[in-house]
Amino acid sequence: MTAALLVCALAWLALGAAGAILSRRDAGRMVVYGGSLAVSLVALAIALGALGGRAPGVTLPLGLPGIGMRFAVDPLSAAFLVLVDLGGAAASLYALGYGRHEAEPWRVLPFYPVFLAAMNLVVIAADAYGFLLFWELMSLASWALVMADHKRAETRQAGFVYLLMASAGTLMLLLAFGLLAGPRGAYAFAAIIASHRPQWTADVAMLLALLGAGSKAGLMPLHVWLPRAHPAAPSHVSALMSGVMTKVAVYAFIRIAFDLAGPAAWWWGLVVLAAGAVSAVLGVLQALLEDDVKTMLAYSTIENIGLIFAGLGLALAFRADGLALAASLALTAALFHAFNHMLFKSTLFFGAGAIQHGAGTRRLSELGGLIHRMRVSAVPMLVAAMAIAALPPLNGFASEWLLLQAVLLSPSLPQFGLKLAVPAAGALLALAAAFASACLVRLYGMAYLGRPRSAAAATAHEADGISRAAMIGLASLCVIFGLMPALALGHLAPVVRELAGVSLPARPGWSGLTLLPVPARQSSYDPLLIALFIAVTSGLAALGLHRFGSRALRRAVPWGCGFLTAGDAALPAGTQYSPAGFSQPIRRVFATLLFRARDEVVMPPPGATAPARFAARITDPVWDGGALALAALINRAADRANRLQFLTIRRYLAMVFVTLLILLATVALWA
C-alpha cells in the first residue's frame, strides 16, 4: 500500500517532467492536469482503502547513507492522504478547464504535479529526514507556482516573503526534530516514539513545531506571507495552498505534538488554544476589511486554521489531564473541520478564479450582479459560503458545533489558567463565527448580488463546464457531509483512538447519523432532520401561498432615495452600498484599535462640482509593526556590520586575537 503511494508520487514527478517538456504545447495542459487527476484519484482510492489501518512501512535506500528513507501509512496519515488527494483531484479537474487561461503555462505545469507529489510524500514520510526533505520540496514547488505571474511587483514581493517564512519554518521544524531525535540520532518516527527524553526537550520541540507548522498553516502572527502568496498564485494553486497545504501543516503539528513528542504538559494546550483563538478572530476581521476576493479568502483561511488549532489545543489540554473522551471530541472536531475547510475553501477559490477570469477583476468594489451572468457557478459558491459561515445544516456548522461542545466540557479541567482561558477562547470563537457570517454575506452580496459596479462585471461570462463541475462536486460534498457528518466521523474514529486513547462511541443505523458529544446526555444535533424540517416548512409555505394567495409578480425600479433617473432607466450602480461601506460599522467598532482603521474624507472646496473622495486606511500591526520593523532593524544592523568590511589587516589580526582570548577565557571559566 505504501509502495503503491510511492509509485503514485513517482508518477506525479514524471508528469512534472512531462510538463516541463510539453509546457509550450496545448497538449501539455491536458497531459499534466489529466494525468494529475488520474493519479490523484488512484492515490485517493488507495488512501480510502488504507483508512483506519496500518500498512507495513517501506524503507528506500535513499537519503542519508546508512539510514535510508522510511515511509509508512498509519491512520493519521491515511486520513490526511484522503484530504490531500481529494483536494488534489478537485483542483486538477478544475485546472483542466481553468488552466486554459494561463498566460505562461510553462511556469505552472512542471511544478504543479511536483507540488502534489511533495504533499503526499510529507504525509507518508516516516522519518525526520524524509519529512523535512519533502516539506522543503513542497515549499519550493508552491513558491514556484506563486511566482507564476512574476511580472507583477506584488507577486515578487509575495514570493520573497513566502520563501523567507518557509525557510524559517523549516528551520524550526529541523530544530524540533533534532531535539526529538536526541543525541543518538533516532530519526525514524518509530525510534523517536520509543526513545525517552527529558520533558524540556519535548516542551521546546512542541513550541518549535507550533512555530514551524504554524507559520506554514498561517497562525498569527506568523501569517504575513499567507494573504500575499495564496492570492498571487493561479486559482487552482490557491485552492491547493489554502485548502490542502495548510492541512499538511496541521498534519505536521499533530504528528509532532500528539504523536512524536510524547506526553504533553498541560500548558501546551493553553498556548495552542490561545494562538488558535486569536488567529481566528483577527484573521476573519481582516478578511472583512479586504477588497480583493482572493486575499479575503486567504484571510478567512487564517480564521479556519485558528479554529482547527483551537480544537487541537483543547484536545492537548484534555489529554494532558487524562480526560480522554473530551480529548477525542475536541480532536474529532479539529480533524473534521480541517476536512470541511478543504471542501469549502477549495470551492470558494475555484469561484474566485471563475470571477477573475469571467469579470476580469477580483476587486469586490468593481463586481456585482454576477448571479445573473454566472448562473450555475453562483450556486456552489452560495453553498460554500453558507458552509464556511457555519450555517446549519451544512458541514461547517457540524464541525463548529462539535468544537463548541468540546468547549462546554472544559470546566472539568483542573488548571486555573485553562479555566480562565477557555471561556475567553470560547467568546473569541463565537466572535469569529459572527464575523465569518458577515464576511461571507459581504463577499457573496457584493460579488454576486445587486447591480454590476463596473462595465467588466456587467459583461462577465460564466466559467467553463469542467470548472463548474469541480465546484459543484465539492459543494455537493459540503452538503452530504453536513447532512450526514457520521460518514466522516466514523472514518476519523481510528485516528482519534490512536492519538487520544479513545474515540467517540459509534452507533449503528440511522441513530448513528445524529451528532452527539461525549457525555451523550449533554446534547444532540440531527442535521438530516433539521434539513427535512426546513424543506417541509418552506415547501408548505410556498405551496400554501401560491394556492391561497396571490401569485402575481411584478418587477419595478426600486426607490433610489430620491435619486432621479430619466424615465424608466435603472438606478446607477453607485447608489448601492460599496464593500467598504458595508464593513464601515464593524471597522469603526472593532478595527479602530486593533488595526488603527481611519476613514479619510476629502471634500471639494465649496462651490466646486468635484466629487468628495473617501479612503479607508488600516494598518496591519503584524506587517507594519512587526515584519517591516524587523526588516528595518536587520538592515540597520547590516549597515553597522558593513563597516567591518573595510579595515586594515592589522585591525583584523587584532580582532582575531581578542576573539581568541575571549573564547579561551570562556572555556576556562566554563570548565
Binding site: L408, A438, D526, T537, A552, L553, A556, V589
Partner: protein, 318 residues
C-alpha cells in the same frame, strides 16, 4: 398510539409557534398603545395585515435575482423550525432532541444570513445600510447569545433545551449569580435580535435609525407577509426561551396527562402575556439609541454573558 400523541403534541407546538406569534405581536402593540393612552389597533389586526399582504401582488426590484424571491421562504422556515425547537408548554417532545440551543441560535443566524443577502440583492442603498448595520449588531449579539448558551448549559450540564427546562424546573439549582447575569444578557440580546427599543424601532421608517426595516424595505406582498410572520415568531421564540429557561414552572413533563398539558398551555399563555406587558412597558419608558451607541448596549450583553460563563468556570458555588 403513543407515537400519534407525540406527533400530535409536536404538531401543536409548531402550530402555536406559527399561529400565536401574530397575536403576541398584536398584544404588545395593544398594551403599548393603551400605556400611551391611545386606543391602538385591534388585537387581530396583525392577522388582517398578513392576509391582506398575501392577497396582494408581489413587486420585486428589477435587478434582483432568484435569491431575493427564495430568501423569504428560507427566513420563514428557519425561524419557524427554531421557534418550534424551544419548549413552549411541554418538554421532551418527539423531535426536541434534533437540535440544541446552539442549533437554535445558528438557525436564527441562517435566517439573518439570507435576510442580509436579500437586502444586498435589492440593489438599493437602503438594503445596504440595513445589511451593514445588521452585520455589526450580529457580530456582537451572536457571541453574546453563545455566551448565554454556555452559561445555561454549564449550569444545567446540557445544552438541550428540554433537559435545561426540566433541570431548572426541578429547582436543583437555587439562585445563581451566573444565571442572573445570563437572564439580563438574554433579555438584552432578545431586544436586539427582535429589533425592539432601544436598538431598533419596529414602527419607524426613518432612514437614520432603521436596521431591520431597511433590509426588508423592497419586499411586498406574500414575501413581506412571510418576513413579518418570521419577525413575529422571533419575538415569540425569545419570550418562550426566557420562559423555559428562567421560569419553567407549569411546563408539562414528558408523558404528562391532559390535565398537566392544559396547565402547561395555560401557564405558557400567562408567561407570554406577562412578557408582552413587560416589553410594552419597557418600550414605553425608554428612548431609542443612536446607531453607534448600540454596540455599547450589545457589548454589555456580551460582557455579562462572558462574566456569567467565567464565574461558572472559576467557582462551583457562586
Amino acid at each position: 398510539m403513543g407515537l400519534i400523541v407525540h406527533l400530535a403534541l409536536q404538531a401543536l407546538e409548531m402550530a402555536i409557534a406559527l399561529l400565536a406569534a401574530p397575536l403576541l405581536t398584536g398584544f404588545v402593540r395593544k398594551v403599548k398603545a393603551r400605556l400611551q393612552r391611545r386606543a391602538g389597533p385591534p388585537l387581530l389586526q396583525v392577522y388582517r395585515d398578513l392576509a391582506r399582504l398575501v392577497a396582494k401582488e408581489a413587486v420585486v426590484p428589477e435587478d434582483s435575482s432568484w435569491l431575493f424571491r427564495v430568501s423569504p421562504y428560507v427566513i420563514f422556515a428557519a425561524t419557524w423550525v427554531a421557534a418550534a425547537l424551544v419548549p413552549e408548554f411541554a418538554t421532551n417532545l418527539q423531535f426536541s432532541w434534533s437540535g440544541d440551543l446552539i442549533v437554535i441560535a445558528a438557525l436564527l443566524g441562517s435566517a439573518r444570513f439570507f435576510q442580509m443577502l436579500a437586502a444586498l440583492d435589492s440593489g438599493t442603498a437602503f438594503g445596504g445600510i440595513g445589511a451593514s448595520r445588521e452585520a455589526m449588531l450580529a457580530s456582537l449579539a451572536e457571541p453574546a447569545m453563545l455566551m448565554i448558551v454556555f452559561t445555561v448549559a454549564l449550569v444545567a450540564g446540557t445544552s438541550q433545551l428540554s433537559a435545561i427546562a426540566t433541570f431548572m424546573h426541578s429547582g436543583a439549582e437555587g439562585l445563581r449569580l451566573s444565571l442572573a447575569l445570563g437572564l439580563v444578557a438574554l433579555v438584552m440580546v432578545g431586544l436586539t435580535e427582535t429589533g425592539r427599543f432601544p436598538v431598533d424601532n419596529p414602527a419607524t421608517h426613518l432612514e437614520l435609525t432603521m436596521v431591520h426595516e431597511a433590509m426588508v424595505l423592497e419586499y411586498s406582498g406574500r414575501h413581506l407577509a412571510l418576513i413579518e410572520l418570521a419577525g413575529a415568531m422571533r419575538l415569540l421564540l425569545y419570550m418562550s426561551l426566557i420562559a423555559c429557561i428562567f421560569a419553567p414552572f407549569g411546563i408539562a413533563p414528558p408523558g404528562a396527562g391532559p390535565a398537566a398539558l392544559a396547565l402547561g398551555l395555560a401557564s405558557y399563555a400567562g408567561k407570554l402575556g406577562f412578557g408582552a406587558v413587560a416589553l410594552a412597558g419597557f418600550e414605553t419608558t425608554i428612548a431609542k439609541m443612536r446607531v453607534f451607541r448600540i454596540p455599547n448596549f450589545v457589548g454589555a450583553a456580551l460582557m455579562l454573558g462572558l462574566l456569567g460563563t467565567l464565574l461558572l468556570f472559576m467557582s462551583a458555588s457562586l
